[in-house]
Assembly symmetry: C2
Homo-oligomer: 443 residues x 2
């Protein structure tokens, strides 16, 4: 570490990288509240947390490489000349984790991992290059019950953060694959998936334009018919089944899942949407995206699906899994736009004013007693003029002040000031003051 | 992202980088419990959280460079040819943060930041290259009250995690600096600080050997006398004061702080230890390290001090601050050695067994009702044989099982099995089952 040099000539601009950002306390408090609510949902559903490194061997993260994400990865040679990369999602490290620790883990394994990932994307679109993902997966069961569990967790997660106006758009990759095979264009499925996935963003006409680059116009029309099928669950399912060549394990699974969801009161939040394919090619079954009904424009706030061979890059053991990922930063932006985040979260509840440093120990004793009752309290650390201390309390939105001169300290009394109303109640015992605070503030 | 290829030829070993590690759920649960307790201490003292990027401009993190830490930094050119580095501590980014956001912040500003940092250290010594630091600082006040606040937070933090056998080793850099000036060797202070700092680790004789590389042997003796001064606070303070050439603002501050600490019942945990200098040269006042009395060998678990010009690299405004940093991973290792961490933290409390997938919706309704009462519950996601489900519950240490066949579901009753004692209570209402669980498990 270098010596901070105070000479102005050597001063450095305190700038941060484009696409990165600091979070000020109010922003970070809001983010933490959200995370904490989501973690509680994970815990009550029996999902357990894991952790993996931010930095891994590039080969482990990218495999043999070549995908579109590869270019966005922060990749470099470390001090030992190893080719390393910062994780760009939490799914690939989880696959590596499952392969590495299989012997130590039980199945089904339900994990969650809320952590930062890094992508050097073009940040002009307002995307961040460092952002937090909240992933949850159930590995070791290929069943409608497992798929349902992920839906239920998502449903509870959004309820926990106060969002009930939400739609889960569901599809099954198997049906679409069968459909493409029937059309004789399954060999182009990755490219088709990528284009079809844009329907919600760019509309049917533009999607058709993209598709005719790959196939004849009538075929593109048929693909568009497929992905635009809408209506009641059973009707759409029947339509897709017909287009795909009849019933199969894929339509059977989807039917089972939709029946369970309906039985549990989730049907109204679920849209069977054949345009949802999730561009990435590791999904093998259920795929889904989640939209805020009042703010569909921000895009999906929770996406995922079923992958039945995720860890196949690392191990011969088949590990079927299903999971979702909440894009926390996008969700937060959405909640803010909907007015659903507290803009001024609580910090300290009580400030003990410092009128004379000779009494600092007394002030701290008072603060300690207040804290012991569960109320956040602090002592102003130096005997500055009272208006300065009041101004501090106001900026930090501290609700109460405790003012004690020598007379009060000698008499073991305090003066409690409501810093919003400016009203002071004098000569209280500390216990009385605490009782008054508790009447108005949830500790 | 690339397609995981299941062919064994292209399989990749799921290895991780040396010095990095995965945390399995039990380890991560323990770490989270610890973090959560520390965060609660921060909150009740009015410290607010911030966040900064993992990646910054190298120049911003290292300044003009040249220090010892520099070699350990993960540094590279990003896709836009910017010289970037992963943060190696949370202090430098905080200094940059203060300079960048000064206008948006009030003073004194009390922040905490618990986050990962990365150092490509020689990992042979068992050190991690990715580890978590828990930093807390008070910026904007140069007072004994501010120094005291940091001591009180540390004291409460260790109490919160069940560690009362703890010693805070305190010193003041100013006294040592005056002492070196008096000896005429202040120009070598950085090198001397670095060597003196090793006293606790290597003992007086080896420290003397290191010092005579820089000064005459009698001078080294005097330095050793200084740093080895021990005894009651007032006696040591008097001795140091004499060696430093008499009273000064440094001894005055330390005296004031020790008096306050004594008055607040902290004196027994504080050792005035002139060998504590903290190698880094940005400290200007109080410096401290924290040792577990029962396990001093693991070294300091919380270190820090006062820096009166931390943000000087970035701004002309003097921002005096004081703060500490808990090395969470080292502390966790210490707590584990002392038997003070739960080795098998709670996961799910209740498993609803899946005997027939036709009843999955019923199982989930039961689980939802259990969760609504605050108890973590899950449904086995597929109708595997019961011994497999029992084995799962055992490995996950799930305490209770709910077994319901068609008869029970029709009669709205459940069979509650204690999975440890294997005892089953039959034909309970769900409410009765929940009441029984609550008797034994804290939700």
């Amino acid at each position: 570490m270098s010596n901070p040099d105070p000479s102005p000539n050597s001063r450095i601009e305190p700038k941060i990288l484009k696409g990165f950002r600091d979070l000020l306390p109010d922003q970070e408090l809001v983010r933490r509240q959200l995370i904490s609510k989501l973690e509680a949902v994970m815990a009550i559903h029996g999902f357990v947390p894991i952790d993996t490194p931010a930095l891994e061997y590039t080969e482990v993260l990218l495999g043999k490489g070549g995908g579109e994400t590869d270019k966005q990865v922060y990749r470099f040679k470390d001090g030992g000349e190893r080719d390393v990369a910062m994780r760009f999602d939490l799914t690939v490290p989880f696959a590596r984790f499952m392969a590495a620790h299989r012997a130590e883990l039980y199945l089904p394994f339900k994990r969650f991992h809320f952590a930062k990932v890094w992508r050097g994307e073009n940040s002009q679109r307002g995307r961040y290059r460092e952002f937090m993902q909240c992933d949850f997966d159930l590995v070791g069961a290929d069943s409608a019950g497992a798929d349902l569990e992920i839906l239920l967790v998502m449903n509870r997660a959004f309820a926990a953060i106060g969002v009930s106006q939400i739609r889960f758009h569901l599809n099954h990759r198997g049906i679409f694959n069968r459909f493409l095979e029937r059309l004789g264009i399954a060999n182009q499925s990755v490219e088709i998936l990528r284009r079809v996935d844009k329907l919600l963003k760019i509309g049917p006409a533009a999607t058709h334009d993209l598709l005719v680059e790959l196939m004849a116009s009538p075929t593109a029309d048929t693909v568009l018919d497929f992905i635009q099928a809408r209506g009641g669950h059973q009707a759409v399912l029947h339509q897709l089944e017909t287009l795909a060549g009849g019933p199969g394990p894929d339509t059977e699974r989807l039917r089972q899942l939709l029946t369970l969801a309906k039985d549990l009161g989730l049907a109204e939040r679920i849209i069977l949407d054949p345009s949802i394919t999730r561009g990435l090619d590791y999904y093998t079954g259920l795929v889904f995206e989640t939209f805020l009904t009042d703010l569909p424009s921000i895009g999906s706030v929770c996406s995922g699906g079923r992958y039945n061979n995720l860890a196949g890059l690392y191990t011969a053991e088949a590990l079927p899994g299903v999971g979702g990922s909440i894009g926390l930063d996008r969700l937060l932006a959405g909640l803010a736009e909907l007015g659903k985040v507290e803009t001024a979260p609580l910090t300290t509840t009580l400030l003990v004013f410092c009128q004379d440093e000779a009494y600092l120990a007394d002030y701290h004793r008072l603060a300690e007693t207040v804290r012991a009752s569960g109320i956040a309290a602090e002592v102003y650390p130096v005997a500055k003029k009272l208006p300065i201390q009041f101004s501090y309390a106001e900026k930090k939105r501290i609700k109460y002040g405790l003012l004690c001169g020598p007379a009060e300290l000698a008499a073991s009394t305090v003066n409690l000031k409501d810093l919003q109303t400016r009203e002071t109640v004098s000569d209280l015992s500390l216990a009385q003051a605490i009782a008054r605070i508790k009447l108005t503030v949830q500790p």
